[in-house]
């Protein structure tokens, strides 16, 4: 498996924000290429910090993160962009250019693959357009290619977000609370999409979730964070209610389950 891309390693990694808040502490973690990992923890536990350290949106204040053996933390400029090119990201609030068409939003995923003078004048090579269309086909909305992004439903917008990440042809996908602004039905569709893409393309996938039942249903490996520290790391099949109580530091309630929200 060592020749496959998408391996992530945290070595004694830590993040202390200005002001003293600890976002990550003594993190030692290894994620194998092609894994599907769900990260859980209460808000402020450091789930976003963990994801954002992988593509350098958040900088470590100690230790290091490696992607395929290359250290993320010291990279700047061109080197950092070369690394980010291989790491797709999906956001809770989708982050699309609302006034642009769907296909042009997906093409943003090709930015790092295309020379700057071309992207500035929207002169996308046919090769890259084909990749963008294939990405849209994979999330099942190729017919929306020329529609303005602002006219799509939430679930469709998140599919465009996923397609943009796929257009990068990434080794890793980071999904930061990808379903937190979606209704339960759409939530399951998007989670199934992520699982399917992980299976079909072997892209290492890290998903932050705050609903425990979703974590159990879709996760293969579950990582629990509390106050920036790793407190659980194990299979989704064997995770117990006891484990969740330890991660959250309290009894969990209906608020922590998506199914209960549907009532």
């Amino acid at each position: 498996m060592s020749d496959q891309r998408g391996r992530i390693r945290f070595i004694d990694a830590g993040v202390t924000y200005p002001g003293g808040t600890v976002g990550m502490k003594d993190m030692n973690l290894e994620i194998e290429p092609g894994e599907f990992v769900v990260i859980v923890g209460s808000s402020g536990a450091g789930k976003s910090t963990l994801l954002r350290a992988v593509n350098g949106l958040n900088r470590l204040t100690s230790g290091s993160v490696e992607v395929d053996g290359e250290t993320v933390s010291q990279r700047e400029g061109r080197e950092l962009r070369a690394l980010r090119k291989r790491v797709g990201m999906i956001f809770q609030d989708f982050r699309l250019v609302k006034r642009l068409s769907v296909i042009n939003n997906v093409l943003i995923g090709r930015l790092a693959h295309v020379p700057g003078w071309r992207t500035m004048f929207n002169l996308w090579p046919q090769h890259d357009r084909d990749i963008a269309i294939r990405a849209l086909e994979r999330v099942g909305i190729p017919e929306k290619a020329w529609v303005r992004a602002s006219t799509l439903s939430g679930g469709q917008q998140q599919r465009v977000g996923i397609a943009r990440a796929l257009a990068q042809e990434p080794a890793i996908i980071l999904a930061d609370e990808p379903v937190a602004s979606l209704d339960p039905v759409t939530t399951h569709q998007i989670m199934r999409d992520l699982v399917r893409i992980n299976r079909e393309l072997g892209i290492t996938t890290l998903v932050n979730l705050h609903f425990l039942d979703l974590a159990r249903e879709y996760g293969k490996r579950i990582i629990g964070l509390k106050h920036g520290e790793l407190v659980y790391d194990g299979s989704a099949k064997t995770v117990t209610d006891e484990d969740f109580r330890d991660i959250y530091g309290r009894e969990f309630t209906e608020d922590d389950l998506l199914e209960e929200q549907q009532e």
Binding site: N55, L57, R81, A82, L83, R84, K85, V87, G88, M89, F91, D93, R95, L96, V97, K98, R99, L100, I108, G109, L111, A112, G116, T119, M120, R164, A165, Q168
Partner: protein
């Protein structure tokens, strides 16, 4: 039951009102303004108005060329200024700029541009490139940069930084972050401000003529010096109508964008 309405802060209201009154009194004295004198002399203004009426419509055809010149000056000024204001505004926006030193320098550059009036720039360029419409167009370019960059840098500062961050996350450069992440969110504002600058420029080009920077203002100054008030009235009427039309058009364009 809503809570009882809080009582007004009367002392503050009285102090504020007295202060405003005192300021007005002091300023009126300073410039020798007296209501009595004003009412006595108002007939002079009436005489001027009477002499300006009716506007000399036979003069209209001879206004066509100077008016077109005014329009040309305003268009060139808006286009050049509109383009140059983009980098000035971006670098002056705290969330997008390229470092504290550049931000600080650009901010101050912008402030200097804005502090100096358009007439100053017109005189400066008239001295540099000679009297005429080119000086006017250059002056209005600078004026346009001042107007658009100030307003637009504030729009840019209020955008949601999530999208620019997403562009960074795919490996985009600073320019790509601007083009795909930041500017689309503030594009409507930019068009609005550019249209607004154009309106200001048409108006300003009347004044610019006073210092010899071309356009309809130059004719205005000549006719005024010759006491041809019916012609002056015609010129004012033409500019008034032009500005109203431009306002209508830009309002329609802004509605389309929204």
């Amino acid at each position: 039951m809503i809570p009882q309405r809080p009582s007004r802060n009367w002392p503050l209201i009285i102090v504020t009102a007295s202060f405003l009154l005192a300021m007005t009194w002091w300023s009126g004295n300073g410039i020798g303004f007296s209501v009595v004198e004003f009412l006595c002399n108002i007939s002079g203004g009436g005489r001027l108005l009477a002499e300006s009426w009716p506007p000399d419509f036979s003069y209209l055809p001879r206004l066509a060329d100077p008016f077109m010149e005014t329009l040309n000056i305003a268009i060139i000024g808006t286009v050049i200024g509109g383009i140059l204001s983009v980098p000035v505004a971006v670098l002056a926006a705290r969330n997008l700029t390229l470092g504290r030193v550049i931000w600080f320098t650009d901010r101050n550059f912008m402030n200097v541009l804005r502090t100096l009036p358009d007439l100053f720039w017109a005189m400066l360029f008239a001295t540099a490139v000679g009297f005429g419409p080119v000086a006017g167009a250059l002056a209005l370019s600078v004026f346009t940069i001042a107007v658009i960059s100030k307003l637009w840098s504030e729009s840019l500062e209020s955008i949601d930084m999530g999208l620019p961050e997403a562009v960074r996350a795919v490996g985009g450069t600073w320019l790509e972050m601007l083009k795909f992440g930041a500017i689309p969110q503030a594009m409507q504002h930019y068009v609005s401000y550019a249209l607004y600058a154009f309106e200001l420029n048409v108006r300003a080009s009347m004044v610019l003529g006073l210092v010899g920077a071309g356009g309809i203002g130059m004719i205005l100054e000549t006719q005024r010096a010759n006491f041809e008030y019916e012609r002056v009235a015609m010129i004012v009427l033409v500019v008034l109508v032009a500005v109203l039309i431009i306002e209508e058009i830009s309002e329609a364009i802004r509605k389309q964008l929204a």
